[in-house]
Amino acid sequence: MTRLPDRAGGGTGTGAGSGAGTGSGTGPGGAVRGTVGAAASASASASAAASSSEDGVPPDLLRRFTTAERWVHRASAALMGVAIVTAAFLYLPALAELVGRRRLLVIVHEWSGVLLPLPLLAGLASKAFRADLDRLNRFATYDWRWLSRAVRRVPGPRVSGKFNAGQKLYASFMAGAVLVMLGTGIVMWFPYLTPLVWRTGSTFVHDWLAIFIGVLVIGHIGMAVRDPDARRALRTGFADRRWARREHPLWEKENPPPGE
């Protein structure tokens, strides 16, 4: 199917299957995807002459993530998924009795965990990724307002930039949590590196933080399940402008449609 042109930034291979699976959609998402394809071919044929917007992005779409950023997310999600699934089979008696193979599970768990920071580190080569990290890092006044309205469950739209305060907190918490899991995991992996108090303490932290991370990841996936537009942005790199105006109004204003 026709693909939208990728912005050059990022560095990892453009053209690598980001369109995979877009044709199989049913329901409302499928309809939206159909228009993406149509718009893409329309803009592809018209872009040379009209240059309706930079990069040939049609006016009803916004470039949200580069190819590099989407692969950082995919690789991190895959590694996190492997770590969580192997952890469940190591930890929950019912699942452990089902598959056994403890040593193999331990090896897979250890390596998925150790490799988990790598996609993010590789992503630092991408300018767009670094810019988004900066956006995630900084809390403006509207982020605090967003947060207080979310906590108090005030109905109605909440103002946010490219990422809302919840996403910012999730990202920064996960960054710290992955590092803690990595450190405590290595202490358990190589028992002769540290005295026993540290090993027991690390096991304690690793166990409890794992439960916390599990709950957060389930919540993260739950939000994605309820938001097809957000999922599409991570799958294709483009977000619907109406969705952006509703969910990330300040970011949408940064990128006005051509001709306004």
């Binding site: 193979r101 890092n137 403006a140 949590a177 540290w198 096991t203 304690f204 933080l209």
Partner: protein, 238 residues
């Protein structure tokens, strides 16, 4: 209009905060875990739902197996072979083992990964009785244990195996050993970390040297005395 990427670096603070808490937790977790274990033991003894068993350190045994599934062998089909450097190699059915003098020990169980189950009853045949029946030949130094999961192995020196707290156990907690716990018969090496107590025991071979067992190939100590090996200082169990 406020632009993205301005404002306090809250993200970095959250990340460093989590990191700091993690280090603090690792430093103090050992003490927290102890008091928490005591509390949890009290709660779980009155917990009919079993939910507390899912919490970290939630008491009781954890299931560890290196084979692909739980091997099952019925009480009728079970056989324990004794061979190697012995005068009378043989094989014992479960009924044969039941007919031999039994020993009941109540001891703590200590896993090398940290969990401990207090005051647990084990019943079985002393390895020394099996060895005497088979007649150990001169030059024998050690025992190699094989298991009918086809994967796990263990070892003991002859002197260790002759201790009165080394059993071929067919009862845990005064009930037959279940398949998940290594039944019908498993090794019970009371004074050692629990990886020594091989599940699904099917063979004892008397050898002239110690052949390290499964986990010992991956760095666990061969002489696995509780509190004096594997870099741990747990209270001895026997």
């Amino acid at each position: 209009m406020a632009k993205d990427g301005r404002g306090a670096p809250v993200g970095r603070r959250v990340m460093l905060g989590v990191l700091g808490l993690g280090v603090l937790g690792a430093a103090t977790g050992s003490y927290v875990q102890n008091s928490y274990d005591n509390l949890l033991a009290q709660i779980s003894s009155r917990d009919p739902t079993g939910v507390t068993g899912l919490l970290p350190g939630g008491g009781g045994f954890r299931f560890y197996s290196v084979s692909e599934s739980i091997p099952h062998r019925s009480d009728q089909d079970y056989k324990l072979t004794v061979d190697g450097l012995v005068d009378r190699p043989g094989s014992y059915s479960l009924a044969d083992l039941h007919a031999m003098p039994s020993t009941r020990l109540v001891r703590d169980v200590q896993c090398v990964t940290g969990w401990r189950v207090p005051h647990y009853a084990w019943t079985g045949v002393k390895l020394s009785d099996l060895l005497d029946k088979a007649g150990v030949q001169p030059g024998a130094k050690a025992l190699r244990f094989t298991c009918f999961d086809g994967v796990y192995t263990e070892s003991l020196t002859l002197d260790q195996a002759r201790r009165p707290d080394m059993l071929a156990a067919y009862r845990m907690d005064d009930k037959p050993v279940t398949a998940a716990h290594g039944g019908p018969v498993r090794l019970y090496a009371a004074p050692m970390y629990f990886y020594k107590s091989a599940k699904w025991l099917s063979g004892i071979t008397v050898t002239d040297h110690v052949e390290p067992g499964y986990w010992e190939h991956y760095g666990y100590d061969v002489d696995a005395w509780v509190g004096k090996s594997n870099g741990r200082d747990d209270d001895p169990t026997s």
